[in-house]
């Protein structure tokens, strides 16, 4: 017999925790990075086609949208790298303690912004 009783609310009422928020962000950012890598490959391929291709990407990436895209991707990769580190430690059996998981979560988030700025500064000044 099929149960036609209502389903109790879930996503609608459950309070976000730091851990759950970072977990879903990790997923979304992972998907974004997947597409970002395709973009980077396309970019590299365009360069092979000579000066015209290079200049085209130069114009696109130098625009406001292009800069936004680059900085955003710097962040998505930074976050994914740092949060993946947490996952690696979890797989080794460390960092499950609630307090530690919260601290590492916040550190990964703050670290991702610092890393983004670092990427940007290094990219601007040294490369």
């Amino acid at each position: 017999m099929e149960n036609n009783n209502p389903l109790s609310p879930h996503l609608q009422i459950y309070k976000w925790q730091i851990s759950s928020l970072l977990s879903i962000t990790h997923r979304i950012v992972g998907v974004i990075n997947f597409f970002a890598i395709i973009l980077i490959c396309l970019w590299a391929t365009l360069i092979i086609f000579g000066q015209n291709g290079y200049e085209l990407t130069q114009v696109i990436l130098d625009s406001f949208f292009g800069k936004f895209l680059i900085i955003a991707l710097c962040w998505t990769f930074s976050f994914h790298i740092l949060n993946e580190l947490r996952h690696l430690f979890w797989d080794l059996g460390y960092g499950f303690d609630l307090k530690i998981a919260k601290i590492t979560g916040v550190l990964a988030l703050i670290g991702s912004f610092i890393l983004t700025i670092l990427f940007y500064i290094i990219g601007r000044n040294f490369i």
């Binding site: 149960n3 036609n4 009783n5 209502p6 389903l7 109790s8 609310p9 879930h10 996503l11 609608q12 009422i13 459950y14 309070k15 925790q17 851990s19 759950s20 977990s23 879903i24 997923r27 996952h87 979890w90 797989d91 080794l92 059996g93 499950f96 303690d97 609630l98 998981a101």
Partner: protein, 258 residues
């Protein structure tokens, strides 16, 4: 595919408003999820104005006050009222917990009380946990030994071996963790969920058990075990302060290293 919205028959409507009749100055608004199977209507959220001057410190005290003094039809499960039986597990202020040990003074503003998330509602705050109990049965939560009737001997356990069960044997199966897990919401029919996996680990980890390998083999499944993505809502919600995420991590590690 996971359904993120509530189905049509589960959409929550605005319910009744029970105004205070005691003329108390210390009122608090309590929003409670209601569903009556005999009404044929959608669930609703009723609001009760409760006099906090004459109310005990826990959320369960509020529920009892409402049931005794305002609306006797309010339905919820409870038994021991000391955080031992796990009957009064519900969603309080957006996080799962036991109403009997959760202090309402810790929560600011209006108090929202819902049943455990993503369950078929039986009535008001009671969710149907049949699937969870079936899954619990599937991990065979009893000691398995290869002893025949005649040679039955006492199974000794050293203090160290016993300590390995600390943090796992305390689980009261209130289902707070499993119903807080988004992975369990979307795959509850196949994924075992934190509560059952913690129990599975408790038996795998028992030095007296003779079926460790078989137990590990049974649980090593893409859907049964690896749907855990370390979201950690389980550990965040456990009213007994246990760590299901760690238990699941330990099973994964055992499988990876054995």
């Amino acid at each position: 595919m996971a359904q993120f919205n509530l189905p049509q028959n589960s959409k929550i409507e605005v319910g009744k408003y029970f105004k205070d009749k005691t003329n108390s100055k210390n009122l608090r608004k309590i929003n409670v999820y209601r569903w009556d199977p005999s009404s044929g209507k959608n669930p609703r959220v009723d609001t009760f104005e409760v006099d906090m001057d004459s109310c005990g410190p826990k959320v369960l005290d509020i529920l009892f006050k409402i049931k005794n003094e305002i609306d006797p039809s309010l339905t919820f499960r409870r038994s021991c009222a000391h955080g031992v039986c796990g009957s009064c597990a519900m969603n309080i202020d957006g996080v799962n917990g036991l109403a009997c040990i959760k202090s309402h003074t810790d929560i600011k503003g209006d108090l929202n009380i819902y049943p455990l998330p993503h369950l078929k509602v039986v009535k008001d705050l009671i969710g149907d946990l049949t699937t969870l109990y079936k899954q619990y049965e599937s991990i065979q939560p009893w000691l398995k030994v290869d002893q025949t009737g005649e040679e039955k001997i006492e199974l000794k356990q050293s203090q160290k071996e016993r300590e390995k069960l600390d943090g796992y044997y305390e689980c009261i199966l209130c289902a707070c963790c499993s119903t807080s897990c988004p992975s369990y919401w979307w795959n509850g029919d196949k994924y075992l969920g934190p509560a059952v996996l913690l129990q599975a680990y408790r038996w795998i980890n028992d030095s007296r058990d003779g079926d460790k390998k078989e137990r590990l083999k049974k649980v090593a499944d893409e859907l049964k075990l690896y749907r855990c993505h370390t979201i950690m809502n389980c550990t965040n919600s456990c009213p007994k302060g246990l760590n299901p995420a760690k238990a699941i991590g330990s099973i994964k590690k055992m499988l990876a290293t054995s």
